[in-house]
């Protein structure tokens, strides 16, 4: 392949000579997009948007886009529990329902009696 042939191929790839009018393909594409050309958003779209703007007070909490998860306002709710930890704690509580009571009793007796090291050193 000669250099001129290569240059011409590259040029044609990036800059096709012209967009030739192909009536058939043009009409098929336009026909296929016809439904989209007539589509309208839901009638309550504006009301929904207005409500979102007012609810979120967008000016203060920043942009809400598809990519960005919704954030709580500053100083609102505490952080949600980490899911595996939460699940483990829930399972433990359901398996040993009295463990919390035992722990509470230990804490009470622990406050009244001397510690183990004091007894052994004595």
């Amino acid at each position: 392949m000669g250099i001129y042939r290569l240059i011409s191929l590259v040029t044609r790839f990036f800059y096709p000579a012209s967009i030739k009018q192909d009536v058939l393909i043009d009409s098929l594409i336009q026909d296929a997009l016809f439904d989209d050309a007539l589509a309208c958003p839901a009638p309550d779209a504006w009301e929904r948007l207005r409500q979102i703007v007012m609810d979120r007070q967008l000016k203060h909490y920043g942009m809400w886009v598809l990519d960005e998860p919704q954030r709580d306002p500053p100083d609102s709710s505490p952080m949600p529990p980490h899911q595996p930890d939460f699940e483990r704690a829930r399972r433990f509580n359901s398996r040993y329902p009295t463990s919390n009571q035992i722990l509470r009793q230990d804490m009470i007796w622990g406050g009244l009696s001397p510690t183990f090291s004091i007894i052994t050193d004595w």
């Binding site: 790839f13 990036f14 800059y15 096709p16 967009i19 192909d22 009536v23 058939l24 393909i25 043009d26 009409s27 098929l28 594409i29 336009q30 026909d31 296929a32 997009l33 439904d35 989209d36 050309a37 589509a39 309208c40 958003p41 839901a42 779209a45 504006w46 929904r48 948007l49 207005r50 979102i52 703007v53 007012m54 967008l58 000016k59 920043g62 942009m63 809400w64 886009v65 598809l66 990519d67």
Partner: protein, 199 residues
């Protein structure tokens, strides 16, 4: 009378200026003025009505949130198209386009009842094939096809919206049509309406 109405109709720039002062009514007028083009563009790209609705909302939320930074001397429509395309990219890149929306299924079931059954079957099938072929195009090519054929924008306008050289836009459109021609080849040969140029 008409002149009076036209004079009193605020321009996009005026509305953006009002929006910079948090005038929600200005956003409402802008929404009424541009909602169809945003929604239709998003719908043609993502092929999902619910997502197109969300993109419409997000697009105007973006106008509201960034009104301070919008240049009121430049036309708003190209910026809206760019935001719509970007939001569509974002949604598609998250891989949500794999599910089949129920509305599309309903549309397939209901729409053929408008015309005679035999014609409808062929035309609907062809239309479905073309829609599928457009949907199978690469995203770059699909966006150019939508902006060119659906919105009737010039190559220069599309180049400005996508921030690309005109030659690149022309190239994408050229190869999009080549791809469509290649994919639709078998379907185009047997349909008499197409063969005789009636479609």
């Amino acid at each position: 009378m008409l002149d009076t109405i036209l004079d009193t109709t605020p321009s996009d720039g005026d509305l953006i200026t009002r929006l910079q002062a948090s005038d929600l009514d200005a956003l409402g007028i802008l929404f009424e003025r541009h909602r169809n083009r945003v929604y239709r563009t998003a719908l043609a790209i993502v092929r999902d009505q619910a997502v197109a609705e969300d993109i419409l909302q997000d697009c105007f939320l973006k106008i509201y949130a960034h009104a301070d930074r919008i240049d009121t001397n430049r036309p708003l429509a190209p910026w809206l198209y760019r935001v719509t395309v970007n939001l569509s990219y974002t949604w598609l890149s998250r891989g949500k386009n794999r599910r089949t929306p129920l509305d599309n299924v309903m549309d397939r079931l209901v729409s053929p009842m408008r015309q005679a059954p035999d014609q409808v079957t062929e035309q609907t099938e062809l239309r479905q094939n073309v829609r599928k072929a457009i949907g199978d195009l690469s995203l770059d090519q699909r966006v150019v096809v939508v902006l060119y054929y659906l919105n009737g924008l010039s190559l220069q306008d599309i180049a400005e919206i996508l921030d690309l050289p005109v030659g690149t836009v022309k190239s994408r459109l050229y190869y999009a049509r080549e791809n469509l021609r290649g994919k639709l080849g078998p379907h185009l040969t047997w349909l008499p309406e197409v063969a005789h140029g009636y479609i």
